[in-house]
Symmetry: D2
Subunit: 510 residues, 4 copies
C-alpha cells in the first residue's frame, strides 16, 4: 500500500521508471510518506542514515561506485542544508545524486510555523536542476508534477534536487498501486548517423506520424483542423516537433490528442507544448526534418499523404474566397502580388492573416509575441538585406514602435503595410470579452491616430487607402514604387467590418 499523496506517488513511479535502485533515507516526519513509498517498492533498496551530512556523502560513495543515480531523501528544514557539502562535491565531480526533500506547503514558509525555511533554491548552484513539485488538484497540476519529476531525472552530469511539499495528514497509506506515469527520455546531443536514423525510423514506422515545425511554417493548419472536426482518422499517433512557436491554439489543442510527441531542439530543453512529450532529442531539428523529407520521397507514407491532400484542399478553399474590403482583403491581395519576398508580420491580427494567406516563410516575433518591436525588427532586417523587406503591421504595434522610423540608416527597400482600424483588432475576436464595458477603451485601446505625422517627421514616403476602390492600386504602388526612402501605406478599415469578414471566412471550414 502506498501513500495517499499524489505527488509522492508520481515521484515514486517515475523513480522506478527511470531505473533508480538505491535510496539513502534520513529520519523525519514530513518525509515519511516518501520513505514509506521507497520502502514499499520492491525495486528500490533503502539505506537509513541519521546525520544528513554523512548521508549525502554516503550516497555519493554509492553513486560513484555504481556509476548510476542514487537517491538521498531528507525531511524538511535544515536537514536539506546538511546535504550541501556532499551536493557541492557531487556537482564538481558530476556524480548523479538525486536529492529529495520533503517540505511544508509553500504558503506556510516564513510564517513561524515550525521547521519551515525556503527550500526550493536552498542548494543554489550546486544542483544542475531544482524543481518543487505541486500538490496536484487537477489534470494540469498532475501533468506539471509529472513533467517536473521527469525534467529532474533526465538531467545529466551532476546532482538534482526534487523538493516535495506535503500537506497534512501525512500518515495515510491507502493507495493500492502506483499510477502509470508518462516517462520522458532524453537523447544526448549528437545527431550522429545512428540517432538520426533512429528518429527517422520511429517516424516512418509509425502508423500516423506527423511532422510539426513552429512559426513560420504551418500555414492553414488552423483551417484544416476546423475542417476535420472530430474525424479521428486525422489524429496522429506520433508527432515529431522540431521547435518554433505554433501560432494556432486550435492546432495545439488538436495535437494534444496524439499518443506521443518527440521534440528535437538545440538546447535539449523539455518543451511539452502538446502535453504528451515522451522524448527530447538534443540536436538540429532542421537536419532531422530534411532527412525525413528526403526519405519520404522514396518511401511515401499514406498518413502524411492524406494530410497533404487535406491541406491542398484547404488551400484551394482559402484561395477561392473573396473577402469584402477589410484587413483580410488587403493582406490577401498583398500576398497574391508579393511573391517570394522577405516579409515581417507583426503579432496579433497580422500574423493570423499571414497564417491563412502567406505562401512563403515569414518573420514574426513569436518568441514572446510582443507588439513593441515588430517594426524595428523589420527595419533592422532591411539595412542588411539586398532586396525589399516588407512589414505588415496593425495600428497598435505600429504606433507603439514608431521610433523604429527615427533612424538614419533606413533605405528605400523598407516597405510598410499598416493596417489601421483604430484599435487592437484581436480583441474583437475573443468570445465573451464583448460583455465587459472595459473592452473598447481599456482593453482594446481604441484610438484615432494616423501615421501621416510620424512619416513626415522622419521623411518616410506616405501613402494611404481607405476603401475598396483604391487599396489594390495603393498596394501595387507600395510594391513597385522606386524610392530611396522607406515607403508606408496606411490602409484604413472598420474594426467591426474586419471582424465580420474574418468570421465569414472561418465559416467556410466549419
Amino acid at each position: 500500500m502506498y501513500s495517499s499523496k499524489q505527488n509522492v506517488n508520481i515521484l515514486t513511479a517515475l523513480l522506478v521508471a527511470h531505473g533508480i535502485r538505491h535510496a539513502v533515507v534520513c529520519p523525519g516526519s514530513r518525509n515519511s510518506p516518501i520513505v514509506h513509498n521507497l520502502n514499499e517498492c520492491p525495486d528500490i533498496e533503502c539505506y537509513p542514515v541519521t546525520d544528513e551530512r554523512s548521508a549525502g556523502f554516503y550516497a555519493l560513495g554509492m553513486a560513484q561506485k555504481l556509476r548510476r543515480p542514487v537517491v538521498v531523501c531528507v525531511t524538511s528544514g535544515t536537514a536539506l542544508l546538511n546535504l550541501a557539502p556532499a551536493v557541492a562535491e557531487a556537482y564538481y565531480q558530476q556524480v548523479p545524486l538525486v536529492v529529495i526533500s520533503a517540505d511544508r506547503p509553500q504558503e506556510w514558509i516564513d510564517q513561524l510555523d515550525g521547521q519551515t525555511l525556503p527550500q526550493p533554491d536552498a542548494l543554489g548552484r550546486f544542483v544542475r536542476k531544482a524543481v518543487t513539485l505541486p500538490e496536484p488538484h487537477d489534470d494540469d497540476s498532475r501533468w506539471y508534477c509529472n513533467r517536473l519529476v521527469n525534467e529532474a531525472l533526465i538531467t545529466r552530469h551532476g546532482p538534482v534536487h526534487i523538493n516535495v511539499p506535503i500537506t497534512e495528514p501525512l500518515f495515510d497509506y491507502t493507495v493500492l498501486e502506483l499510477p502509470a506515469e508518462r516517462k520522458i527520455e532524453w537523447l544526448p546531443a549528437d545527431i550522429s548517423a545512428s540517432t538520426l536514423s533512429h528518429v527517422t525510423r520511429m517516424f516512418l514506422q509509425s502508423k500516423r506520424p506527423m511532422l510539426i515545425s513552429g512559426q513560420p511554417m504551418n500555414p492553414l493548419m488552423d483551417e484544416a483542423v476546423m475542417l476535420i472536426g472530430d474525424d479521428e482518422q486525422y489524429v496522429p499517433d506520433f508527432v515529431l516537433y522540431i521547435g518554433g512557436s505554433v501560432v494556432s491554439k486550435r492546432l495545439k489543442r488538436f495535437l494534444r490528442k496524439a499518443k506521443e510527441t518527440w521534440v528535437v531542439n538545440a538546447t535539449g530543453e523539455v518543451t511539452d507544448t502538446f502535453m504528451n512529450l515522451t522524448h527530447v532529442v538534443q540536436g538540429d531539428g532542421e537536419v532531422v526534418a530534411d532527412h525525413i523529407h528526403f526519405m519520404l520521397i522514396t518511401e511515401p507514407h499514406p498518413f502524411v499523404q492524406m494530410w497533404e491532400d487535406l491541406l491542398s484542399r484547404v488551400r484551394q478553399m482559402s484561395e477561392a474566397y473573396k473577402p469584402a474590403y477589410s484587413e483580410m482583403a488587403a493582406v490577401k491581395y498583398f500576398e497574391s502580388r508579393v511573391g517570394e519576398a522577405v516579409v515581417h508580420y507583426a503579432n496579433s491580427t497580422a500574423i493570423r492573416l499571414a497564417n491563412s494567406f502567406a505562401k512563403h516563410p515569414v518573420f514574426c516575433n513569436r518568441g514572446v509575441n510582443g507588439i513593441e518591436g515588430s517594426l524595428s525588427t523589420a527595419a533592422g532586417c532591411s539595412v542588411v538585406a539586398d532586396t525589399e523587406v516588407y512589414c505588415v503591421i496593425g495600428d497598435l504595434s505600429f504606433f507603439y514602435d514608431q521610433n523604429a522610423l527615427w533612424n538614419k540608416n533606413l533605405r528605400g527597400n523598407l516597405r510598410i503595410l499598416l493596417l489601421n482600424n483604430g484599435r487592437g483588432g484581436i480583441f474583437n475576436m475573443l468570445p465573451g470579452l464583448e460583455q465587459s464595458p472595459a473592452r473598447d477603451a481599456f482593453v482594446a485601446a481604441e484610438h484615432h491616430t494616423s501615421a501621416e505625422g510620424i512619416c513626415r517627421q522622419n521623411d518616410i514616403v506616405y501613402l494611404h487607402a481607405d476603401g475598396p476602390q483604391d487599396f489594390q492600386q495603393a498596394i501595387d504602388t507600395l510594391l513597385y514604387i522606386d524610392s530611396h526612402r522607406p515607403v508606408l501605406l496606411e490602409v484604413f478599415t472598420d474594426a467591426d467590418n474586419d471582424e465580420r469578414v474574418y468570421k465569414d471566412y472561418l465559416s467556410l471550414f466549419k
Copy 2:
C-alpha cells in the same frame, strides 16, 4: 459584475481597502479580467495607455504628484519588461508604484505556448516586494492569496510587483460583489509613546485579549487548550503576538479561532501564524509586553485573569502527576531540582517535556527546529557563562551532534542529560505512522548506541542510569558533582514505555 477569477477579486477588493484610487491600464487579453474589475470599481479611476514603457512613467508622474500609490496594470509577456525603466526610477526615488501583471499559469512557462516568460522575478531588485498570487482552490490558498496581496500593499518606500496567473476562460463576469477580505495594516518602526499606548489600549479595551510570546515562554498551554475543549468562553478576540516560535500545534490551531492577531516584531515582517493577522507593528515586542504587564497590575483584566486561573489549575494537575520511570520522569525530576538555571533543551521530545515541566525560560533551537546543533549550542553557551549550563537532549540529537564534545574549551560547567531510548521518540507519538512498515528502521532511526565511547574519547565524565532505582540519584550527581570537565548522564529508557507514560499524562487533560 466582477470577474469570476478568485485571485483577481481578492486583489481588487484589497486594492480598494488599501485606498488605491488611480490605475493606469494597458491593453491586453490576459489582463482583461483585472482591467475589467478596476473599471467596475467606483472608487478607482482608470487611465488607458498603450505603450507600457510610457505607461510606467505616466503612473510615476501621477504617484509623485499625488504622493500616494498608483497602479499600473499590464498583460503577460514583454509588456512587463517594458515597465522596468520606470520601475527602476521609482525604486531610486522611492515612489509607490503598484505593478500588476497578468501571467499564464506557472505550469505553462517555457513550454513554447505563446507569450510566456518567467515573470515572477522579472523586475529584479527594482521592486521592494514581488509576489505571485496562487489561483485559489481551497481555504489555504485563498488565505495565502490574501496574505500575499496584503504583503505587497503594505510595503513602503518604493515600487512593488503583484503577478497574477490567470487560467482560461478569461472572459466571464458573473460575480455580483467583491469578497470581504481581511486587510493587514502596517505600523511603522517607532515604538514611540503614541504607538506603544495605541497597542496597549487596543489590548486592554478588548473583551478577550491574550498575549502570546513564542518559545521559550508559553509552558502548559498545550495542556490548557486540551482541558478547555470546545469551551468558547476561553477563545480570545484579540491576540497580541510578540514573536518567537510557538511549540504547541494544538495552541496554534486554537489561536486560529481568534478574531484577529496583532504582531509586534523587530523587522516588521508579516508572520501570519494564526491566519488572522490584521496588524504588523515593527518594534520591540518585549517593550510592549512589559508595558502591558505593567498596566495589568493597576488595571486587571477579567479575561486575562480567567486564563491565569486556568493555567494555575493546569500547573497543579501537572505537578501532581507521578510518571512511571521514563524520559518524562527524568525530566520532571530534573526540573524539580534544577531551579533557576540556564537550560538548553534539544528539539523533539526534549522540548515537549520542557513545555510541560520547565518552570523557567529555556533555550531551544526553535528557529528551524533542527536536531543537528543543540549540543553545540549549549556548549557555546557554557564557555561564556558564569554558571552551570544544562543540556537536556534525546539520543538522535545527541549522536548527530557529538562533535560538539570535540572541543578544547569546554569546562566543568557543561552538564548534559541524555535521554536515550534507542530511537527518535517523537515518531511514536504520530498517529497513523505506526501503520508504515518503514517506521522503526527508516523513519525513527532505531539504533543501539551508547554515549560512553564518545565521552571517553573526549574526556567527558560519564554517568548512566537505567531504572527507577538509580535515576534520581544520578540526576542529583549530574547537578552537584564537582568537575573541571563536562559531565554527561545517560538515562536509558524504553521507547514504548515512554510513549505509554506520555499518553497517560495527556489523558489527565482530556
Copy 3:
C-alpha cells in the same frame, strides 16, 4: 604583527571598532591570515572548533547568551556550507552571527583549481547581508572594502556574511599595526524626540555644518563651488545629507573634502555619496531638515550664514547674466516668467539649466537619470494636477518618449518647452570627447527631426521659435494660451552656439 593582506586588516580593524570580542575559528590554510589577525588582537578571544557545523552552533550559543555579535571564521570551500544549518537557525532567531569566510580570488572560481566554489551568495537568504570584499589596489577599492565591512557590521536582527578573497602568498605577517579605519554607525528607525535632538545638536554644535538635500533643491551650488575655488574656509566639517540625488559632480567632489557626513533616509541604507559617511540615521529627512531650519531661526550659525551670503551673491551674478540666443536664453526667460509652477525638467541639458535658473523646486527623473520617460512623467502629473504642468525637455529625450503624447487623457494644462538643437547637447560639454570621430553621429545621436509631425498625429497644439526675435513671445504664448489640448513650443537652436553660451556663463564663476 598583522597579516600583509589589506582587506584582512581593514576587516580586523573594523571588527574591533564595532566591539566584537569573541571569535570561533576553524582550521584552514586560506583563512589563516584572518585567524592569525584575530589571535593578534588583544580585544578578541578565539575559540578553535574543527567541525564547522558544530562551530556555527557553538557561536550561536555564545551570541545568544552574550546578546552580542560573535564571529565564526572558516576557510574556503565546503567549510562555509557546513555553517548553513546554524546560520538558518540564527536567521529565524535573529541572533547576530558574523560569518567570515576566506575565499579564492574570484577569477579562479570554477576553474578546477581546488577548493573553489561560488561562495559570495552561498548562504542564500539565511543571512541579512552578504558582502564580498575586494582585494584593494587603489583608494577607491580601499574605500569600497571599508564600506562593505561597515555595511555588514551595522546590519541588525540576524546573521551576516563577509566573504574575503585572499591571493597568495598567504603567510606573511609584517604589518606593525592595523589601519585606522572609518567606522560607520547606524541609528535605528525612530525619529523620536531624542534622536531628532541628537542629530540637530550635532549639526548646530559643529563648527562648519552644511545641510545637503539632493534633487531638486540645491540650485546654483555648482556655480558657488566654482567661485570659491580652493578657499578652504567654505569647506564644511559636518555634512547632513537628507537624501535625493545631487546633480552637480563638482559639488559632490567638493563635499568629499568634508570630515564626515551623516545621512538621514527612510530605509536606513548606506549611501556614501561623499565617501566620508560616518552615520546612517533611518528616518524622515524632511522632518530633520525642518527642525534644523526652525532652530536656525533663533540660533543662527555663522558658517551657514556665510554660505547663504555666498549663494545670494551667486544668484545675483546669474540673474544679471544676459545669454545670447540659445537653450539657456530660452530657459532663463521661461523661468523669469513662470513663477511658482509645477515644472518637470528632463535629464541632461535641461536639468543642468534648471539648476542655474529655476527658482522653485522642480521634478526630474534623477533616480537613474534615464531619458526615456521624462515626457510621460510630466504627462502623468498633468492628469492629476489642478494647475498647468510644464515640461522642459531636450530633443533626444522628447523623441525617445514621444509615445507619451499618444494618450487620450491629456488635457490643455500640459505645456511642453522642447529645446531642439539636433543632438544630445550634453555631449558637447564633455572635454576630450571631441577627439573621437564617433562623437556626433554615434555618441551624440545627431539628427534633423522636428516635433511638428508627432504633434499633428496626436492633436497637440504646435508652436515653434527659431531666433532671438520670436522666442520670448512664443514662450509667453506657451504660458498663457488658452487650450483644451496640450501645447508644445519647439525652440530651435544651434548646438555649437548653445555650447559657447554655456561656457561663457560658466566663465563668470572662474
Copy 4:
C-alpha cells in the same frame, strides 16, 4: 587610435577575432569608449539608434537575417533595461544578440551617484550568459577579462550580456593598436568521428603534446616536475586536458608554461586551469583519451615517450626510498601490500601521499576538497561493493566525519587506516605559516583524541599501532583479518617527524 581602457580594448579585439561585423550603437557618455572603438575597427560597421528598445529589435532583425551575432551597445543605467523586450524575444527565438553595456565601477552602485543601478544581472534569465568584466590592474585580472569575454562570445543559442565597468576619465584615445588576445573556441557536443579524429590529429601532430587527466590519475607528476627543474625540453606545447582535478600545484604551475591547452569535458564549460586554454570540446574525455592511447601504440610519439621514461625513473626513485616511521611509512607499506583494491583517500596529507605511492586509481573528494565527508563516502562505497573498500584518512578528517560509523548497514569489507598525528598535518608543510603564533592551536587544530571510543560506540573492530615495531604487522592485520564488522587501524605518529620525513623524501627530487 583606440581608447586607453584595457577592458574595452580586450573586448574589441575579441569581438573582431570572433567575427563580429555589425554593431548597433546607442548614444551615451559612459559607453563612448566602446562606441569609439567599434567605430575605429575597419571590420565592424556601426548603426546608430537612439531609443534602446527599438535598437534591440533592430539588432534582432539584423541577426535573424544575417544568421550571425550582432552587437547592441548601450550606456549605463536604464538604457540597458530598455533592451529587455528584444533580449527576451531573442532568447526564445535563439538569436545571437551580443548586448554590451557600459557601467559605473561596481563600488559606486547604489551610492546615489547618478545613473547607477545593479546591471550585472539586470537581463535575468533572458541571456544565456552574463559577464561583468574587471578593469584589469594586473596579469590575473587581464587573463580573467580575456576569459570572460571569450566565455560570452562562445555561448550558443541565444543572447549574451557583457557588462563593462569603466572608470573616469572616459575620453582618452591614445592606444595605437588593439592587444593581441587569446581566442577561445568551442567545438560542439558531438564526439563524432570527425571531431574525434580532429582532436587526435592535433595531438599527434604537435611537437610536444601532453595528455593530462585530473584526479585520480596523475601520480608522481609532482616529483617529476621537481626533478626536471628549468629544463625547457620537457615543457609541452600542446596540452590535452580531459578534466578532473589536478592535485599538484607544482604541476599546474608547470602546465601554465605550455603554449595552449584543449579541454574535453561533458558540459562544454570553460575551465582554464592552466591559463592557456584555446579550445573547449564538449564530449567524453575518456573516449578521446582511449583513442589517443590506441593511436600511440602504432604511432609512438617521441615527446610522450620521453615523459614516460622520466616518470619511470621517478617511480624507481620513489620506490627505492625507505622512509623512517611516519605517516609516509604507513602509506607506503600499505600500498605495497594492497594491490589492485578499491581505496578511498581523504583530502590533505592522505591524498598527497597517495599521489606518490598509490599504484592504481584511487577515490578522493577532489571536487571541492572538503574534509567533512571522506569517511562517509568510503562507507557508502563499501555497502555496494563486492570486495574490500579501504579508507586512508588523517585525524581531522576522521573525527570530523565520525558519524559515518553510526550506520547499521556497514559490513566487514570496510577497512580504515587512520593516520593520527594530533593535528592537521598539511599545515606543517606550508612555508611561512610557522611564523604565526596561531598556527598550532587555531589553524592546524591540534588535539589529543583517539578513535577507540567511537569504535567501541559503533561496534567497529579497533586496532592500533604506534611505532616502527608494530605498524607493518598491524597493517597486515587490517588487510587480512576476517571480520563481519568494519575494522579500523589507528596509526599514531609524531607530526614534526612526519614533516621531516616528507621533506627528506622530496629532497630526492631537487
